[in-house]
């Protein structure tokens, strides 16, 4: 079953003359590990916002499990989001953050408690549950960012550079947990500039440049098609070496 389907999608920001994204067509299967890559300013984050319904396209449509994304209230519950920036209340404790975002995700008190215990155990944060997040290290904050995004076990999880700025151990823990989540049925839509990590995580790749999809296939097929041994070589071959920002 298709988890997410985008057909002929066009988008421009208010006041801009040119399209920011033009004629985007993507199909993401349920339980797939989908990677969305491109140089800075290519339109990756904008596309994620369009997929989640945060932005509305000027034409084209997006479907989530066969339902139009415009009916946001019906599909919102299916989404989880781990943004690149830390998105939590640093003054509050880890437990209080999870309680709040859990409630907003639509799960009940008991489930919040159960998921909190589970996630803190997996991400090695149990002993810090009552401490204000502002006292945490960068790596711990990254793990909290992820925990909040998955508290309600979303069916589609959007990950915008979830491991940026963390040490090897934290990266390893996060990627392992994402794989575990995926094995339980969660579709991952991942974007990052860490292409080695992406190679390890993603099965299917879409490359965007200047608002257009320039490649869209399984990682294995793309490497074979362009005769490259790794994602980084493929990326440079398709997008060039010139600065983009």
């Amino acid at each position: 079953m298709l988890a997410l389907e985008i057909n002929n999608l066009n988008f421009r920001y208010k006041g801009q003359a040119n399209l920011c994204l033009s004629n985007i067509n993507l199909q993401i299967n349920e339980s797939e590990r989908f990677g969305l890559f491109g140089p800075n300013g290519a339109g990756k984050t904008t596309l994620i916002y369009l997929m989640t319904g945060l932005l509305q396209p000027i034409s084209g449509e997006s479907m989530v499990f066969g339902r139009k994304i415009k009916q946001r209230n019906g599909v919102k519950r299916l989404f989880g989001f781990v943004p690149q920036d830390f998105a939590f209340y640093e003054e509050l404790s880890l437990e209080h953050n999870l309680e709040y975002f859990g409630a907003w995700s639509g799960i009940d008190k008991n489930e919040i408690k159960q998921r909190t215990d589970e996630l803190l155990e997996i991400l090695g944060l149990t002993e810090y549950r009552k401490i204000a997040i502002k006292k945490f290290s960068g790596g711990m904050k990254r793990r909290v960012n992820l925990a909040i995004g998955v508290i309600h076990k979303p069916r589609i999880l959007f990950l915008d550079e979830p491991t940026v700025g963390v040490d090897v151990q934290t990266r390893h823990a996060i990627i392992n947990y994402l794989k575990q989540l995926n094995s339980e049925g969660t579709t991952l839509i991942y974007t990052s500039h860490l292409l080695k990590e992406a190679e390890d995580l993603c099965e299917h790749i879409a490359l965007i440049d200047e608002g257009k999809v320039i490649a869209n296939n399984s990682l294995v097929n793309l490497l074979k098609e362009y005769n490259e041994s790794g994602l980084e070589g493929l990326f440079l071959k398709l997008t060039g070496k010139a600065y983009r920002d």
Partner: protein, 422 residues
């Protein structure tokens, strides 16, 4: 419902963890209310005609000076403090006096002579006496010395001078009538007839209206509500900043993706800050009731209509919160929110009569002042404290504030829509 409760709990936790912000919300208005009430207390007393303290140093032992002092007291403008010894600065400070009057020795005798001469002059003119030697004599007497406190403004000096002259005229007229009556009739004037022709009481009947809009509050009745409302509006620093922070952080994107409306979060914020308003009102009003008398300030007398007081405070608080919401929605940075918020509040407070009460403003300001929500808030409180308004009067008074709330909330809603925040 669980989302709503979780939001309220989150806002409450954020608020109580912001100890500096909380302290500012309470310490600033408490400090201001105590200092400003102290400063304004004397001025309010003067405006309210409680009486100007006047030190009278009477060096005369006759009846005329006593009669003059009695006339001064009857004007109800002066609190007369009689001092025998020579007046010095310490006495002026001790009695907080604005005027010192020194009556010279033999003043009564000199005035009596002066009256006698005027009386004779009048009788000659009436054709009832022909002793021209008396009529040509100098009729001046030693003057009473008046010294004003140097801090007293000119307009107050003129007013006090006029009042003193009136008292003196009354004294001299009484003596003159007595003298003329005696000269013409050869006997003393009767007390009833004297009262009939010399009316030294109130000339004008007090105008009585059903609702006296010109009633003036004392320093406490003005400053307690004024600085409470100011503190409510100053919450903009905390609430506006809270909204801007959320808007700029990744939290906002995360919340928008989740299956709940941001309205829930905005309503929760407003409820929590409304609770702060209630605590603020209870704290500052309690200081007015119990602490002020201990520091020689007039105690705050609570109105009978406590429900009305609660309603007025809640509506004032909601107006302030709605204004903060507006600023928070439109500000792009925390600096904009706190900077514009603070400056606009001070301007609105000045226009609205927090610093200088509306009744003490020049006429040209009376229209401008109505553009500030502070004005309507103060009027609602004044009416409660001075008129002991009934519930229906309270509702009429808070109507302009309710209109303010609707306007601010509407502007905030338009801002949220335009910025694609909801």
């Amino acid at each position: 419902m669980f989302k709503f409760w979780a939001s309220i709990l989150k806002e409450f936790r954020l608020l109580i963890r912001d100890k500096v912000g909380l302290a500012l919300m309470f310490i600033m208005p408490i400090t201001l209310v105590i200092i400003i009430t102290n400063i304004q207390n004397n001025a309010f007393d003067f405006i309210k005609n409680k009486g100007v303290n006047v030190i009278v140093c009477n060096n005369d032992s006759g009846n005329v000076s006593k009669d003059f002092i009695s006339s001064l007291q009857k004007t109800e403008m002066f609190n007369v403090i009689n001092i025998k010894k020579r007046v010095c600065n310490t006495e002026i400070k001790k009695y907080n006096a604005l005027v010192v009057i020194e009556i010279p020795q033999n003043y009564s005798k000199q005035i009596k002579n002066k009256i006698k001469k005027i009386s004779n002059k009048a009788l000659i003119n009436f054709g009832l006496n022909n002793d021209s030697t008396i009529a040509n004599e100098n009729i001046l007497a030693d003057s009473i010395a008046i010294t004003f406190n140097r801090s007293l403004q000119n307009n107050y000096r003129y007013a006090i001078n006029s009042a003193l002259q009136s008292a003196m005229f009354i004294t001299e007229n009484r003596l003159l009538i007595k003298e003329l009556y005696f000269e013409i009739n050869g006997k003393e004037i009767s007390e009833s007839f004297e009262k009939e022709i010399i009316n030294d009481g109130n000339v004008f009947k007090k105008k009585i209206t059903i609702k006296d809009k010109n009633k003036i509050p004392n320093a406490t009745q003005h400053n307690i509500p004024a600085w409470t409302v100011f503190a409510m509006f100053f919450m903009i620093i905390s609430l506006g900043g809270n909204i801007v922070r959320e808007k700029l952080s990744g939290n906002f994107i995360r919340l928008k993706i989740l299956p709940a409306s941001y309205f829930v979060s905005l309503i929760s914020k407003q409820i929590i800050y409304l609770l702060v308003v209630v605590v603020l009102v209870i704290t500052i009003f309690s200081i007015g009731i119990w602490i002020f008398p201990l520091i020689n300030l007039p105690a705050l007398n609570m109105p009978n209509n406590i429900l009305g007081l609660f309603l007025v405070s809640t509506v004032c608080g909601l107006t302030a919160i709605s204004y903060a919401l507006c600023i928070g929605v439109f500000a792009n940075t925390q600096e904009q929110s706190s900077g514009f918020g603070a400056v606009s509040i001070v301007i609105l407070a000045v226009i609205g009569g927090v610093f200088v009460p509306p009744f003490a403003m020049p006429d040209s300001f009376h229209l401008i002042t109505k553009f500030s929500p502070f004005y309507w808030s103060l009027q609602a409180y004044y009416d409660l404290f001075l008129e002991n308004n009934k519930f229906i009067d309270v509702l009429i008074n808070i109507l302009p504030l309710l209109i303010n709330i609707v306007i601010f909330q509407l502007i905030a809603f338009i801002g949220l829509k335009r910025k694609n925040l909801i």
